[in-house]
């Protein structure tokens, strides 16, 4: 089973996010960079499938040079090799452009299964993985919480609004992860040592036979950013008893804010 994992490096979710001077990107200094949490589930699931079925796990990223750190972490978890498309401009790409690059890579890398996060927690775009599947003309199943592979088929339990659905499809296919799929392992010390010797193939878009002109301008482009209005510190409800506080809150919600 040849498994490709699509991985993005993102600011840790505990980071305070500020807007950079250009007004269309975020400040990157002082940010702790991590593997996108949903991609961590993808790495873990790929390793478990490899442990059960044999094969190898390749990590594929589009990003800057720095992204190699995230790939190295995935290698330390147990993935076999990495591939980084080093494109410093990629931070400004829309989901389609990123998906085009990934699809171009995956046309050269053999795979039976692609696993990706359902979304990256920076762009929150939900677009790259399904679009990559579309460009590769393979089926995808999103938000998977459980999968089973038998011969050339994969059966997945996926989250839907208000419940769960079970779907099946032929391999090769792409699946995206949902919280609950697994508990990602930590990289062990021997894993970290071994990862230092594992290969990371670094390429640029021209190596893939792509060029900016061919790919065109991003169709969806950030033109400005702001931080949402900060919620002001509120009113602490006072009262002699819990009963009095509860009554006062309900009175306010009913009479003043009219949400009840």
């Amino acid at each position: 089973m040849e498994i490709a994992v699509l991985l993005k490096q993102v600011p840790a979710t505990e980071s305070l996010i500020g807007i950079a001077e250009d007004g269309v990107s975020v400040k990157t200094d002082g940010i702790k960079w991590v593997i996108n949490p949903y991609d961590e589930f993808a790495v873990e699931e790929a390793l478990r499938i490899k442990e059960a079925h044999g094969g190898s796990v390749t990590i594929i990223s589009v990003g800057s040079e720095k992204t190699a750190e995230a790939i190295r972490t995935a290698l330390a978890m147990g993935a076999d090799k990495g591939m980084l498309i080093n494109d410093p401009a990629s931070a400004g790409y829309d989901g389609l452009k990123t998906a085009r690059i990934l699809a171009a890579v995956l046309k050269e890398v053999p795979f039976d299964l692609i696993i990706a996060g359902q979304r990256a927690v920076d762009d929150d775009n939900y677009q790259v993985a399904p679009a990559t599947a579309e460009f590769l003309d393979i089926p995808h199943i999103s938000m998977v919480i459980k999968q089973e592979i038998t011969d050339t088929k994969i059966r997945c339990h996926r989250t839907i609004d208000g419940g769960t659905a079970i779907l099946e499809t032929q391999l090769p296919a792409l699946i995206t992860t949902q919280r609950g799929l697994n508990e990602p392992r930590y990289a062990s010390l021997p894993g970290i040592m071994k990862a230092k010797k594992k290969p990371i193939d670094i390429k640029n878009v021209a190596d893939l036979g792509l060029d900016s002109e061919h790919m065109g301008e991003p169709l969806t482009k950030i033109v400005s950013m702001k931080t949402p209005p900060d919620r002001k510190g509120g009113i602490m409800i006072q009262g002699d008893s819990a009963q009095a506080k509860a009554a006062e809150l309900v009175r306010i919600l009913h009479e003043e804010t009219k949400v009840l």
């Binding site: 769960t164 301008e217 033109v223 950013m225 919620r231 819990a242």
Partner: protein, 321 residues
């Protein structure tokens, strides 16, 4: 002259999702702005009758793709049918809800059509001929304006972000032939928690965190039920296994924007704020007067949630008579 706005309706078991009415209402506003027609596309099995229910939301035309092959949502079959329709009709704007279905379909369509997509957007506006969509990034820590360049422009709206408006419904109903084309996905089974309200669509969310102390969410559930709302959970509560991950509110869970969000025993990590800060009114109940949630809540009550929440429920019950 504009070629029109296409709104893709979403129904589950013969019931339209609320986000469908939101998308249609916004689609009507966009069509009026562009001086064009609004078409609603309904997919499913035996959906002709229910399609009438869309009329009050302003479509000029309701197109029904009715086929046994569309009984269950499958991304590939649905995308193929919608794509064929778009290919024929060449609308300028496609609008749908960013539900789990809508996310899959819109991402696929954007790639197949090489079309710009504003995923999970909360508002749009026109500036001259430019279409600008507003969407949250970084789990709600950033609000970005994105320009969509190209045609058709695909708008996948976050549930609960748009106003529903009723318009005189004079839409005509039209059935189309359905060809699901080449498909690879097979439906096996599904389980719907029918009595459970989808948290992203609820007007009220009552959420519990570590302060719940265990998996018994009964006090929260009865308050949510009384308010016809949904139950949410913080990441700690989900990590503890007290609630399913589908209940999680936050940067790595769901983003909700209800009219009323009641946080019970949730201290208020930055990742949690990201998931609920666009709620209209936030109430926090916590034992710890120093809990960060109080700095972001409109109203706070310091106290034991197991004492306070049932009292609130009781007060509301009195109010409702």
């Amino acid at each position: 002259m504009s070629k029109g706005v296409l709104a893709i309706a979403e129904q589950v078991e013969g019931v339209f999702r609320k986000v469908t009415y939101e998308a249609l209402s916004e689609g009507r506003r966009i069509a009026d702005h562009l001086g064009s027609e609004l078409t609603a596309l309904v997919l499913g099995t035996d959906v002709e009758n229910i399609s009438e229910e869309l009329k009050p939301y302003g479509p000029d035309r309701i197109v029904v793709a009715d086929s046994p092959a569309l009984n269950e949502f499958l991304t590939d079959a649905y995308t193929n049918v919608i794509y064929d329709f778009i290919h024929k009709e060449t609308p300028d704007v496609i609008i749908l809800g960013a539900s789990t279905q809508g996310k899959d379909v819109s991402a696929r369509l954007s790639a197949r059509l090489n079309a710009p997509l504003a995923m999970d957007c909360v508002a749009i506006r026109f500036e001259d001929n430019r279409l600008i969509a507003t969407r949250y990034m970084y789990g709600g820590k950033i609000l970005a304006d994105v320009e969509l360049d190209g045609t058709p422009k695909i708008l996948a709206f976050r549930p609960n972000a748009l106003d529903i408006t009723n318009t005189d419904g004079a839409g005509t109903l039209q059935k189309i032939d359905v060809d699901t084309g080449a498909t690879a996905l097979q439906f096996i089974d599904k389980r719907l928690d029918t009595d459970k309200k989808e948290i992203t669509e609820a007007d009220t969310v009552v959420a519990g965190g570590r302060g719940m102390g265990g998996p018994d969410f009964a006090v929260i559930e009865s308050l949510a039920e009384l308010l016809d709302g949904a139950v949410g959970a913080s990441r700690s509560a989900v990590d503890e296994g007290w609630r399913p991950s589908s209940d999680q509110v936050g940067q790595t869970g769901k983003v909700v924007s209800p009219n009323l969000y009641i946080a019970c025993g949730i201290s208020g990590a930055i990742q949690h704020f990201a998931g609920m800060s666009s709620s209209k009114v936030v109430v926090a109940i916590n034992k710890d007067p120093e809990a960060p949630i109080f700095a972001k809540a409109d109203y706070g009550i310091e106290g034991d949630l197991y004492e306070i929440v049932p009292l609130i429920t009781e007060e509301i019950r009195k109010l409702k008579g």
